[in-house]
């Protein structure tokens, strides 16, 4: 792999700020807002050109086929008297890990019919729970219980989202049974937080929708208590949509629907500022992502710190938040800057 130190420092565009207009027009690697495509940061050398091919072309400048996922250094001739450029040197980069697929492979952000089916199933079970609760409450003329239970469900969903998020962020890895893919996805999210805003709706929600569908269906079939059904409808519905609330928390005010911004400002949905705090070192606070109403209490009372200490002393499990953030955990700020440019 060619490192920047192999080349004259003065020639390295790497040292030029990414918002420099002298650099960007040369390389239209960055996607527009309306046609999001993942990008990979590239090094541009004045007397040569290094192209990242992972997301763009598969043909080199001289027409040769180049394998995707490799860095190619293409020297650019500066005058006719100079000898012809050397053939491009292919520099192999490590094959992309699954977490990089979100940035390297745009299709991984799109919804599939399987995703949509699971979201439909999840929504159906939640809707049935709500409808049954309403019908049974109407029959018994008793609304207070279901309404209160629904409110409690909404509040506890925030707590549940925080506990789950804390667990996934701190323990296990990609090989953990059942949770492995979620853990990997969350770690990837910490490295590239903005990709959640590029995920299509069903792609973002399908994992939670599947869990909700399996959990709520038996309750829908077996339970006839309007209060319990009201609680389940709101709790499971908020859990299922927490990923959408999460995505909105990563959005910018100007790009979000006004209603969403109003709900965030009112504290009904988790705010952008509160969730941004979770993405700053030491990444050990503001875990709740439904309304965020529990975040202040959980952080001030150091509940998760206490749980981490207990798990450490009882089972020897050390949470990731105790370590210095590794490169796989910390946000890829250069890529973020390019997206915002």
């Amino acid at each position: 792999m060619v490192s920047p130190s192999d080349l004259p420092i003065s020639d390295l565009i790497w040292s030029i700020p990414f918002d420099s207009m002298s650099v960007l027009p040369q390389h239209k690697l960055f996607s527009s807002v309306n046609n999001p495509r993942p990008v990979v940061p590239c090094l541009v050398v004045r007397n040569g050109r290094v192209r990242c091919l992972a997301a763009t072309t598969t043909t080199g400048p001289t027409g040769q086929k180049l394998e995707s996922g490799k860095l190619v250094i293409v020297p650019v001739p500066t005058s006719t008297s100079t000898p012809p450029p050397d053939p491009p040197r292919v520099v192999t980069s490590p094959s992309p890990s699954p977490v990089r697929l979100a940035t390297d492979d745009p299709s991984s952000l799109k919804s599939t019919w399987s995703h949509r089916a699971w979201v439909a199933c999840g929504c159906t079970t939640v809707f049935v729970s709500l409808a049954k609760s309403v019908l049974l409450a109407a029959e018994s003329h008793s609304w207070a219980g279901p309404i209160l239970a629904g409110s409690v469900g909404y509040v506890l969903a925030d707590l549940g989202s925080g506990v789950y998020h804390w667990g996934i962020d701190n323990y296990g890895d990609a090989s953990t049974p059942f949770f492995g893919s979620q853990i990997e996805a969350f770690q990837g999210h910490h490295k590239w937080p903005w990709t959640i805003t590029r995920r299509e709706f069903a792609n973002n929600l399908h994992a939670l929708a599947r869990a909700v569908a399996f959990s709520v269906l038996p309750i829908d079939l077996l339970c006839n208590d309007p209060t319990m059904l009201g609680f389940v409808a709101f709790f499971s519905g908020c859990i299922m949509f927490s990923q959408q609330f999460h995505a909105w928390a990563h959005g910018t005010k100007s790009r979000l629907p006004q209603l969403v911004v109003a709900l965030q400002d009112a504290g009904i949905l988790v705010s952008r500022a509160q969730h941004a705090a979770h993405h700053r070192p030491p990444y050990n606070n503001n875990y709740c992502i439904v309304s965020g109403v529990w975040n202040t209490f959980l952080d001030e009372m150091k509940v998760f710190q206490a749980l981490e200490m207990v798990l450490f002393f009882k089972f020897g499990l050390q949470p990731r938040s105790w370590d210095e953030p590794s490169s796989e955990w910390t946000e890829d700020l250069e890529a973020s800057a390019q997206i915002e440019a």
């Binding site: 506990v163 207990v310 009882k314």
Partner: protein, 215 residues
């Protein structure tokens, strides 16, 4: 995965969230759980001598009387320091010593506490005091911890937590967590302050310095 933290009946939520000054009076002996939770989140300075009921390390029902209280000379010990050399408490006689028990090396709270003692070490030296940290970790762990954070004071290995038990350092969270308790001994080896606070480790430094400056 979630642990249940039961709130004591006589402590309302707002009072737990708001900062409180450490109490100097022991509460009634029946309120074991409230005292434990209070100390964990807001710190408690134990100033009353003898017969002091503290939260049990294993059961909410049993009552353990602190074996080391203010005004008493604690039992001596000899433990290995981070270099593997035995160090006795009696070595520090003739000058004030701050003995702080902490859960474990490399945990966030203990790191904050150690670094806070390090950053204020000159003030402790100025007061003529020595600082000694004790946990159940072995000498090699202490050595790595001390080296990583450039700790200028002694760390002792209380393997098996024998000294912790002898001194009666209370555990937290119903015995799930080794307690974080600091003792200040005067130049005669008599305990003048006991401060307990699990989740605000930096406060141990201010509380102990305040006392040292008055000795």
């Amino acid at each position: 995965m979630a642990a249940t933290l039961s709130l004591p009946n006589n402590h309302s939520l707002p009072s737990l969230l708001s900062p409180k000054t450490p109490s100097s009076q022991a509460p009634p002996s029946s309120l074991l759980i409230p005292r434990s939770l209070h100390s964990q989140f807001h710190g408690i300075r134990l100033s009353t001598p003898t017969s002091l009921p503290l939260a049990s390390s294993s059961s909410a029902k049993s009552c353990i009387f602190a074996k080391v209280n203010k005004g008493r000379v604690p039992p001596s010990f000899t433990l290995k320091n981070q270099d593997g050399k035995p160090v006795s408490l009696s070595k520090f006689k003739g000058k004030p010593v701050v003995v702080y028990f902490y859960p474990a090396d490399e945990t966030p709270g203990c790191t904050k506490q150690a670094c806070a003692f390090r950053d204020s070490y000159e003030k402790f030296k100025k007061a003529g005091a020595e600082v000694v940290g004790i946990s159940g970790d072995d000498p090699s762990s202490h050595q790595a911890f001390a080296k990583k954070y450039r700790l200028p004071f002694t760390l002792l290995s209380d393997e098996g937590n024998k000294v912790r038990k002898e001194w009666g350092v209370p555990a937290d969270l119903f015995g799930a967590l080794p307690g974080r308790q600091t003792y200040v001994l005067d130049k005669n080896g008599v305990v003048q302050l006991i401060y307990n606070n699990q989740f605000q480790p930096e406060k141990h430094i201010n509380e102990t310095l305040k006392l040292l400056q008055s000795l």
